[in-house]
């Protein structure tokens, strides 16, 4: 049973079709990146999975329970793109409130562990209103982890973080994946998604326009071989052609210093499919 399964998911806001027949699965222990331009429907999809928005058609199941049901909400953790915690609460109190609401029995130990995990151990008693945006985002991630959820839905979790903060979140996500937690990561940061996600799903105008492992999605762009005569380019060659090309050069007496198999980057793939859908 997948941790998250969307089937024929559609959502209309009046005349605007935010989602149109979306199919998506996230397995246990899988980290899936959700990409797409502004207005593609990424946040709507995540909100439907959380039960915040009702779908116009189709369904979403969270660990086998319909999205929005109490059973589904017991199993997920969610960080919204635009969220706010009461400014008068301390970091520890925010987590305590969410422990009570989620029925977590982790107590003070869980709160301390989560604050350490997101690098806020020293800010335990600091009020939210005295925190920077980046600290609040770290606290938001800790809040989403309260109660050890099986599925984590993160909507732009690193938008306010500095590079070191983003690296910390990447490490955290990898650790969660190792623990078997399923993660759907909604992000605009393609490099981040490429570094950490097992699979990517690209949405454009409410539809899935590409989905799969990054390596599978990447299109071949030829092979470059560095010899003493300079870099030779073979634009039509594929990865499996590289050994033969090198052997031919060696046989011809050309010393080979390096080989590069070229594929499209995630950014190029993203721009290709999104622009194609837009035209």
């Amino acid at each position: 049973m997948p941790a998250l399964a969307a089937r024929g998911l559609a959502k209309r806001y009046g005349a605007i079709e935010a989602l149109d027949g979306v199919e998506l699965e996230v397995e246990d222990g899988e980290l899936v990146g959700l990409l797409g331009p502004n207005g593609a429907g990424k946040s709507t999809l995540v909100k439907i999975a959380c039960g915040l928005v009702r779908p116009s058609a189709g369904s979403v199941d969270v660990c086998g329970s319909p999205a929005g049901s109490l059973a589904a909400r017991r199993r997920l953790g969610y960080l919204a793109e635009l969220f706010r915690f009461p400014g008068w609460y301390s970091a520890d109190e925010v987590l305590e409130l969410h422990q009570r609401l989620s029925g977590s029995r982790g107590g003070e130990g869980e709160r301390r562990e989560l604050l350490e995990l997101v690098g806020l151990a020293d800010a335990r008693d600091r009020r939210v209103e005295a925190m920077s945006k980046g600290m609040q985002q770290r606290l938001g991630i800790a809040q989403a982890l309260v109660g050890s959820p099986q599925l984590l839905l993160l909507d732009e979790p690193t938008s306010a973080l500095d590079p070191a903060g983003r690296r910390d979140v990447r490490r955290l996500l990898e650790e969660l994946r190792a623990r078997g937690v399923a993660v759907l990561l909604n992000s605009h940061l393609l490099s981040e998604v490429e570094l950490v996600c097992d699979r990517v799903v690209i949405l454009s105008r409410g539809r899935v326009v590409a989905a799969g492992r990054t390596a599978e999605l990447a299109a071949p762009r030829g092979v470059e071989i560095e010899t003493d005569g300079g870099v030779r380019s073979y634009p039509e060659a594929r990865r499996e052609d590289a050994p033969r090309l090198v052997a031919d050069l060696v046989r011809a007496g050309q010393p080979v210093y390096g080989v590069r198999v070229l594929t499209t980057t995630l950014e190029e793939l993203y721009l290709d499919v999104v622009e194609e859908r837009a035209t």
């Binding site: 959380c50 039960g51 915040l52 017991r74 969610y78 969220f83 915690f85 008068w88 009570r100 609401l101």
Partner: protein, 286 residues
């Protein structure tokens, strides 16, 4: 149940941390002190004058006491309304627009629990507040004028029910309107109810059936106003003749006994408003 307790505790903690309780307490004490000063001054100046008007044969203490307590009752109702509206005006759409609501409602507590808890927290606090302030005004009036109203418990409970109804209306409005728009709307509804009371009084004085009927319909459409009118009427329910006439012409009159069916209607109204708010919130995209 534990989810409901957590939400109520959250609301109470917010009010305490934001010093709302402290501000309300200090300003209410100031209001009661001013009220006491006013009652004392009126007794010093007006009581001998009324008593000197021998042929009118009215109980000066009763006329002054009932008029001033009616004034205090209106002020208490107004303060309770302000609290009820400010505690609830942004509970749904206002908090959702600020991103405060979503992290709470994705937790396994249920939207109905969130809404009912916020209503219970606001309604209980405001009800307790108006009962306490009205009780203090009652004691001040009795102590300084020597006149004690005919009823205390029933009017106090009616005031409490009236502010609870306003809290429910404000919660219903919060599902559809932004915080500012909702606050304005509920205050205008409150003002409309007040105007209905004045219209009824003018209608009775002029003998206009149309005005009286409009006022009656408006009072029942907005039962918080009918409860207030009924509570006011109960202060002097056992008086009669010229004294009752003077009391009903008081500065914030509109005293009108509505009978026991009012309570049944207020209950049905509260259930209807609550059900509408729950149904609308359950369907609302956040």
């Amino acid at each position: 149940m534990s989810g409901a307790v957590t939400i109520v505790a959250y609301a109470v903690q917010e009010a305490r941390r934001r010093r709302i309780f402290l501000i309300v307490l200090l300003l209410t004490l100031a209001f009661l002190a001013l009220y006491g000063l006013g009652v004392e001054q009126v007794m010093d100046v007006a009581e001998p004058e009324i008593a000197a008007e021998g042929p009118l044969d009215v109980d000066a203490e009763m006329v002054i006491g009932a008029t001033l307590l009616g004034l205090a009752m209106f002020a208490t109702f107004f303060l309770g309304t302000v609290l009820a509206i400010f505690f609830t005006l942004g509970v749904v759409r206002g908090d959702a627009e600020r991103g405060l609501l979503q992290p709470l409602v994705v937790r396994p507590v249920g939207r109905s629990t969130v809404l009912l808890s916020r209503f219970l927290g606001a309604a209980l606090f405001c009800a307790l507040y108006v009962v306490c302030v009205f009780g203090a005004a009652y004691a001040i009036t009795g102590w300084l004028t020597g006149w004690w109203p005919d009823r205390f418990v029933a009017p106090a409970l009616e005031l409490a029910a009236a502010v609870a109804l306003l809290a429910a209306l404000s919660l219903l409005g919060s599902v559809f309107l932004s915080a500012t728009a909702n606050g304005i709307a509920v205050f205008m509804v409150f003002g409309a109810g007040l105007m209905a009371g004045f219209l009824g009084q003018i209608g009775e004085a002029l003998g206009s059936e149309t005005l009286t009927e409009v006022a009656t319909v408006a009072s029942w459409a907005l039962p918080f106003e009918a409860l207030y009118q009924d509570a006011l009427a109960r202060l002097t329910i056992e008086s009669s003749g010229l004294e009752r006439f003077f009391v009903q012409l008081g500065p914030f009159g509109g005293a009108e006994a509505h009978g026991p069916e009012l309570f049944a209607w207020a209950g049905v109204y509260l259930i209807f408003v609550g059900a509408a708010a729950l149904a609308a919130f359950a369907r609302r995209d956040l």
